[in-house]
Amino acid sequence: MPGKLKAKIVAGRHLPVMDRASDLTDAFVEVKFGNTTFKTDVFPKSLNPQWNSEWFKFEVDDEDLQDEPLQITVLDHDTYSANDAIGKVYIDIDPLLSSEAATVISGWFPIYDTIHGIRGEINVLVKVDLFNDLNRFRQSSCGVRFFCTTSIPLCYRAVVVHGFVEELVVNEDPEYQWIDRIRTPRASNEARQRLISLMSGELQRKIGLKVLEMGGNAVVGYLQCFDLEGESGLVVRAIGTACTLEKLSGGGATNNAQHTANSSPSKDMKEPVFGDECPSNPLSSGPSTPLRAPPFTSFSPSKSYSRQSSSSDTDISLTPKTGMGSGGSAGKEAGPLKILLRQQTQTALEQREFPFFTLTSFPQGFLLHVAGVVSARSVKLLDRIHNPALGSTRSYKLLDWSSCSADEPETRDAWWEELRQEIKSHARALGCHAVVGYSESTSICEEVCILSASGTAAVLNCRFLQDGCLDVLSEHRCDDSAPPGCGFCHVPYDELNMPFPAQLSPCCCCHRTKVPDVLFTTIDLPTDAQVTGKGCLIQARLCRLKKKSQGEGNATCISNLLPFLEYELHTQLLNKLKLCGMNALFGLCIQISVGENMLVGLASATGVYLSALPSPGGIQIAGKTPNDLTYDQHVSSIQRKINDTIVKNRELYEIHITEVAEDVIGSPIPEPRQRSRLFRSHSESSDELSELDLSHGKKDAFVLEIDDTDAVEDLHSLLTDAPTPPGFYSCNTEIMPGIYNWTSAIQMFTSVRVFRLNNANLTNLGLNKIFNELCENLLKSLYFKLRSMVPCCLCRLNFTVAVPEDELIQVCLLCVCVSVRVSIAETEEQLQFPLELNAESASPLSPKGSGTPSVDYSSFADRCSSWIEQLRLRAHTIRRGSIKTSSSPLPEGRSRSLRSTRSFPGSSVSVVKMTPLSFIPGAKIVKYLGIINMFFIRETTSLREEGGVSGFLHAFIAEVFAMVRAHVAALGGNAVVSYSMKECVFMENPNKNQAQCLINVSGDAVIFTRESDQEGHLPQTSHPQPTEDTPP
């Protein structure tokens, strides 16, 4: 009996009136964990009961502790009839199971009812006493910590990054046809909520076991998703990166930093090994030839029919040949030699064979080279998940599936396995041994499911992947062979033996190695990357109609459409990137959603101008009938327009290229190549992609022909995108390249829109236009709403599209708006700084280093090299004329004394900040309290009365926020970082006046402290800024 859970019910407040006669409530509480239930006394006739119960004690296995939530049900006592439930609170006690996280859960929780929403609050105290017994065969993994953050959490240091962990569990969905159910909606919703809570718990426990097996103690970049497969069941799956983390103490960090600073830049022996070895396994890969920048795609059709793209098979068969990492360097997980075709098996050992990392930003020196995006999609037909115990008898013995999950998860596992193998082979073809920024997603419509996986092929420094390399880590600076500012851009593949045709040119920074002309990645911009100017959000949007069909036909149809969709998205991205005068995309996320009669694709990324990469060429417009004079005029006017836009954009994003004159943008190519339209064949992805490569050579412009309707369409979407209004910046990455003067005023928001396409006979073109407008309008709406925060930056702008019904498109958006400080000192500093630094050392200046007090992504603080530290010192001196001592435990504004954050005086509710970022501008995260992973269902049978669909969803989202905040506050936290809304499924039936919505959110609960000494104050006093979180 390894654990004792104790709970105490203190009081309630604002309870709803349950007895109409007296306008009061006779409330009592049931506390349930596992199969044990306790009850409090009835507190009669009060809306603010004070139960002050004894401690209810549950003696349970730690396995149960991990799986089960604590269930608190508030009821109204009724002498004559059944007691009425007021609502429930589910408390995930996982944060209490780790010694480093929260120690007690105590606070007010909203009492939630799936029909009525929040109905009052309840004050609860929860504690756990854990007894350690490590020597038995463990089924539990207590103590393994989970982080949603896709970088090493700020107050930790990665000792070892073990690698990929994944798991999935399946179950029967307690309710897949909610409208037609016979039992009360409340009962089925609750069954579902509870089931998913259990499944998440189990999933975490299982992943934890894998981590322990690998020798790690934490999962970073934990990404958990639900697939609501309807009749075929419910899949909860998760991926993450296993790490061994070590908590940074203040002193430790200082030591480390100094250590790093003082140590001579000793050569690391492993890196060159990689550099040499990588090109030695150029794969003459199969039909899906990799390409450098564009997403590397392939499609495996549904297992249920014969058409099988050749790519995956060949790649998989190639896999075992390659001995990637140098012997032993990759540790347990990076040795991919063990990969066999036994895809269906899922031993923990094999999971580690995927050299995948869900992280998007890395400790300094971890990432050596980045090759480009690799992605794979496959279309599957869902069938009923065979689950004998749960089958058709709807007995929700929810814990039972573990006993009978015998063969079932394997199908889903196999699907993913297949996809991962594909990704891996793509990465290998690009000369890379790892995939970073890896993520997986699904889109389900009826019985068709598109599985997608994508990541960025990369070469990593394997020191981090090894056990026992702690000393090496702290002593060695990141290798010098690859200068930090441009090293990651260098192509990992061999120039002479390229797996695909590509334009390489010497690195503009170091001139030593080759770089590609464009770079697409799914990761965040590395902190040491050299960037010219600012970044911006770039989106490609596309809709494609598809015939309505069923089963296999439908799947075939979709898989036929996919390559086109993806190709066009890619072209659009590339065009827009060029139009912005930029040459690299970060945080690329391509979503393809399937609906009954259309496919919607949305690609978002943050464009930047990487100094290392060559300047992008312009866009050349070509007409097919050059003899026609008016037509020529038309062409040239468009050309002029495009050129103007490029010039304007360069101005806007401050991309001033000082180097070569030949890079002049928009210069028309002397002889426009009269090429046939880029690609319209029905070939495999490889064809399109290689052809694409030809189209944009190094310095010459990208040719667009406007005879083609599609080209007109492309052009249209290019030119109709409204630029961000002055004062706004937007990006979908953690930080905005080129903007560093953040303030602490942040506002996180969620926006959901559903559009109905009224006219049924739409063309692709019309549909595209509508979809494009829809996204543009959503952005415009944001700019308007947030106008009071100007100048500000919309970070982590995360769009999610779905096609919930026939003619509906749903767009969800989650974003944080961070106010940016306008400061004269800043600009000065930026000017002065590079000069000074260059005078002293030749090391290229990281833009990040130019003294930005509030941006805080210094998770790698300990490994920061000395010059950054010096730089910072100087920054302080310049800015304030005061000298900051180097004793600061952490760089980047970490030196400030801590001030406990107070909640607003006079308010009994503490303020909890929420942000999709992994940090809080102007603040320091001092403790991670545990993962927040919550799933809610809300249903109504009085839709009109609740203000229609908008009113209903508005209230629900507000309630979800409230519940997240309450849980964080109860853990003792004051913020949620890396917050995301994984799922927002909205269904309505206006005729029946009903609607239902499911929301899944996750994030990391943290305690942060505001940086408060002079550094923090100075800008605040000199520049009056909006009060924190002040909304417009």
Binding site: P110, S907, G951, A958, A962
Partner: protein, 420 residues
């Protein structure tokens, strides 16, 4: 293509004060969008009316959801649904409970019943305030009334604490509750010239001097009810008009004091008995609920209008009332060597308040200012006198003289006979 659903929810609840005001004023989304457009909110933004509409809708929804909480402002501070900074919370509450003077003037003194609520559309069309806003304001009155009805202790303080209103609003609501409770008649045509603030001032005076709570601060009772005992005692004043000798003496004392001090001395002398009767009768009848309701109309009819027809100016009225009370005190000292009685002391304080109120009304009515006395700071002329109006708030004026009244009375009361 149509937007089926459109929501925008911030972690910190997003609200625009301007939109809030439009919502409070009862605008529909469409009208609010129009007003905002005309207000130029889109200037400098690359946004369409659609964007504005969506923003307005979002905020209106937010306010609607907040409304439930605003009905119990104490809840707003510790609810979890909306994360609103405290200064915003205060703003929300204060604006929600703010009311239009034009509206309150219509409802003041009426019973806060369903019947009154049904008549709100008339009020709406009369005042030009949208019905929705009227309903909100009316419901606010009713809600505050309900909250403080059963509470003990000082009214203003209760309102401030239970509804978290600002001092000014709390004071105004105290007046509204007080008026509604006693159903003071304020709607008569003769009273139309008085603003809500005039009545609020009177309410403040009455609450602080005439109510049970005022009689004994320590007494755990409420401020809303008038002190019955006190009203009963007011009947004793009748001796001033029923006893012929006393009346004559009183008159001669006042006249002696006033002689050569005012231009309207002759009129004063002539109307002394009438005015005295008018005042004392009002005081004596207050035990009757009906007469309490008519307090203000009676004061205007029985005292203020006669004065006005005699073309008294405010300073004259002041003088008159000062000496009226002062003389009563001398009168007593001579006539009856009775023991000092605290009750009578209090009683005269109350009478003073009648005077305060009267003077307040007078000032508002704008007694004709003669050239000589126009110098007095309280004097003001109105359109009635066809002279330039000098706006002076009645409160300034009355407070200046209230002290003298009180002093006189305190002395005078000592000797007042306890006719029991």
């Amino acid at each position: 293509m149509s937007v089926e659903l459109d929501v925008f929810v911030g972690n910190t609840t997003i609200m625009d004060q301007e939109v809030y005001q439009l919502w409070l004023s009862g605008y529909t989304v469409g009208d609010a969008v129009k007003v905002r457009m005309d207000g130029g909110v889109l200037d400098g933004c690359d946004a369409s009316a659609e964007v504005l509409r969506s923003d307005t809708m979002d905020q209106f929804r937010t306010f609607q959801m907040c409304e439930r909480l605003l009905h119990n402002p104490a809840k707003l501070a510790n609810q979890l649904l909306f994360q609103i900074p405290p200064d915003r919370q205060a703003m929300l509450i204060d604006r929600y409970y703010a009311f239009d003077d034009a509206f309150v003037r219509e409802v003041l003194g009426k019973k806060l019943s369903k019947g009154t609520k049904k008549d709100l559309d008339d009020v709406s069309s009369k005042t030009g305030i949208l019905l929705k806003s009227c309903r909100r304001q009316f419901d606010n009155f009713k809600r505050v009334f309900k909250v403080v009805e059963e509470l003990k202790g000082p009214l203003v303080e209760n309102i401030r604490q239970h509804l978290l209103l600002s001092d000014r609003l709390a004071r105004d609501y105290a007046a509204i509750v007080f008026f509604a409770n006693h159903r003071f008649e304020t709607g008569k045509k003769k009273l139309q010239y008085l603003t809500f603030q005039d009545f609020a001032f009177c309410a403040g005076e009455l609450i602080s001097h005439w109510t049970v709570g005022a009689m004994d601060n320590q007494l755990e009772d409420m401020d809303v009810d008038l002190d019955k005992e006190f009203l009963q005692d007011l009947k004793e004043l009748k001796v001033l008009i029923t006893d012929k000798d006393l009346l004559d003496q009183h008159k001669s004392l006042v006249c002696t004091a006033l002689r050569s001090k005012t231009k309207v001395f002759a009129e004063m002398e002539a109307s002394f008995k009438n005015l005295s009767r008018g005042l004392i009768n009002i005081a004596a009848k207050l035990t009757n609920t009906k007469d309490v309701r008519d307090l203000f109309i009676d004061l205007v009819e029985k005292f203020i209008e006669p004065c006005r027809s005699d073309r008294w100016v405010t300073i004259d009225v002041n003088l008159y009332l000062t000496h009226y009370i002062n003389s009563a005190h001398i009168l007593d000292t001579f006539k009856h060597q009775a023991v000092w009685n605290s009750l009578w002391d209090e009683l005269f304080k109350m009478l003073t308040d009648i005077q305060h109120v009267t003077v307040c009304f007078l000032v508002k009515m704008g007694m004709v200012a003669s050239g000589a006395s126009a110098a007095a700071e309280g004097t003001r002329a109105t359109a009635a006198s066809s002279e330039e109006p000098v706006p002076v708030h009645p409160t300034q004026f009355t407070t200046s003289i209230s002290f003298s009244f009180r002093d006189m009375l305190n002395v005078g009361c000592r000797a007042w006979p306890h006719s029991g």
